[in-house]
């Protein structure tokens, strides 16, 4: 086990998988210079055939990923920011997500799309979205939201070796954060949540970028006698509903934290599923901690107003349990 930065863990996964399989290729805007940090050193090591800068044309890039995968390569497409999912949506929604079904199972599309999501850096509305909710609605796309360096490495390696279109969502602005990464071969399976902190009073499901504030919130709640259990689902498709239900069975309370806008967020989906199959386990309504239905503003104070933080999460937990914050 070694301490590594999030961005470094991603970079290691890319190196290892490209070394392991010569059919793995990576393309996207400015990847040769590794502008986003995660591709550092890849061009020098693997050359311009396998690591290639593209023009700025997301509609074409997502379609090219489909074509190159259909023709036999394992494709990693670097899409930079998750807002560009919208720009490249046709081939994502109409080709990538459907081609396997439409072709009666002939198409096999090993595609990993990497993009960074979330606000907090005054990148303004078009570079701060948490744009995974529409992906979940497509049916044929896996969605990964690693919150720690270890999971980032292990999930990315599993994705690259997989046989299905998969979006690897990097928590934006978290590249420098450190965490433990197991030595040697490290693969994390899809659809297995982890308990980031065990507790008995309230279940806090924290998606990706929300894990850090959720753990901070749990710490402050503990000081006032509330024992929160923090669940990191790690992957949204497939989703480990059983892990959430098992926790709710213990706590009877559920708060779901998601940096997406509230309406049709993943938090909404999780809340609906738990209310559906776990209604009898709940002692109170499910609460969602999400971004309000607004675009992310530029001004730091206005941005901070809409992105959930540890205080937002702890406040919702206290309210749910009917306990005011300690004075």
């Amino acid at each position: 086990m070694a301490r590594k930065r999030y961005i470094q863990a991603i970079n290691e996964a890319l190196f290892e998988e490209m070394e392991r399989d010569p059919k793995v290729i990576l393309f996207g805007e400015d990847v040769e210079l590794a502008i986003m940090g995660d591709c550092r050193g890849l061009t020098e090591k693997f050359g311009r055939d396998r690591i290639r800068n593209t023009p700025i044309c997301e509609q074409t890039l997502t379609g090219m990923a489909v074509g190159a995968a259909a023709a036999g390569h394992r494709v990693i497409l670097h899409l930079m920011f998750s807002n560009f999912i919208y720009t490249g949506m046709d081939a994502i929604g109409n080709q990538m997500a459907k081609m396997r079904l439409m072709s009666g199972g002939q198409a096999r599309l090993p595609i990993t799309v990497i993009c960074s999501y979330g606000g907090g850096g005054s990148n303004a509305a078009q570079h701060s979205d948490t744009a995974y909710p529409p992906l979940l609605n497509l049916g044929g796309i896996n969605v990964l939201t690693p919150a720690t360096p270890g999971d980032a490495k292990g999930l990315l390696k599993t994705a690259i070796r997989g046989a299905n279109p998969t979006f690897f969502m990097e928590a934006g602005g978290r590249g420098g954060e450190q965490g433990d990464v197991p030595d040697g071969e490290h693969l994390v399976p899809f659809g297995k949540a982890t308990i980031a902190r065990a507790g008995k009073d309230v279940t806090v499901v924290a998606i990706g970028s929300m894990l850090k504030p959720a753990l901070e919130a749990a710490k402050s709640l503990a000081a006032s006698g509330i024992d929160a259990e923090v669940i990191d689902p790690r992957t949204l498709v497939p989703f480990d509903l059983a892990a959430v239900l098992a926790s709710v069975k213990k706590t009877g309370h559920l708060v779901v934290c998601d940096e997406a806008r509230d309406r049709c967020s993943v938090a909404s989906q999780i809340a609906a599923e738990v209310a559906d199959v776990g209604f009898g386990l709940l002692k109170a309504p499910v609460k969602r901690v999400t971004v309000p239905n607004v675009a992310i503003p530029y001004a730091p104070n206005a941005e901070a107003r809409v992105i959930p933080n540890a205080d937002t999460i702890s406040g919702v937990c206290r309210g749910l349990l009917g306990r005011a914050a300690a004075a």
Partner: protein, 330 residues
Amino acid sequence: MTTVSPSRDELFALYERMLLIRRTEERLRDENKAGNLPGAVHLYIGEEAIATGVCANLRESDMITSTHRGHGHYLAKGGDLNAMMAEIWAKKTGICKGMGGSMHVADFSKGILGANGIVGAGFAIATGAAYSAMLAKEGRVVADFFGDGASNQGTLMECLNVASLWNLPLVFVCEHNTFSEFSPSKTVTAGNIVDRARAFNIPCQVIEGNDVIAVWQAAKTAVERARNGGGPSFIEAHTYRIQGHLEAEDLFLGGQKYREAAEIESWKAKCPIKVTRKLLEAGGAADTARLAEIESRVMAQVDAAVRFAEESPPADAELAFSLMFDGQTP
């Protein structure tokens, strides 16, 4: 440069393939009218020379992307007729097990990366496939079929840029059939389509798309260029869509019209199959007999394919649940 022409035997083969596409689609037209098909069909009648002339220059390992009007491309690239008809009849034995239908016929094992219901979606898929082919260094070539309607999608310009910049083994084949769904293309298109490719320094040819020999020759040049590392080419082949945008379009038009009957008739006179037959008949009695043999062979194939489709079991209604992912539930 000397221009090579197809041999007489090759011309017979081109004729037979065009006729197979025509007779298949005439049957689909009639079956659609009779209400025997669950979904819409978009027919390629009158445009057969393009798919046939291009695909005659491709190997089985080469790849194509097709359009919503894709039966001709599928058959020209060697797709199985029975499996296509069963697909359109929504049967379990369909090439896509009944999950795709007419607009999505595909056979990946033969490099047919699929007909596509999104106009212009083939550009980027073909560009990605050509990038893969270039990296694999196995001499594979990709042909991307699209129409004049699709040429107004921005992705054409994006893909011309990438293909030229990266010198990809890709042949862009614009089937200029005069219509953009229900609009005459000239009413929605500025300039000449071929000039868009010229702007990216791609070698271009504008040809008479109803002349299968001209198509064959243009494709031969373009495919050889791609195979030998010479990069992409662009062929604009002029033709005419004899049928409507889709069968039963009258239901949508509600008495309105977007073209004159005389225009359709004038293009029927330039039918690629008729023109080719005339050339072959000039060979005398033996060739006329050979043409009659081809006609009865093709009709028998079409009849057998329809019978196969009709007699096949229906699609598996549960199949969708296992097809969204490879080895994973949806």
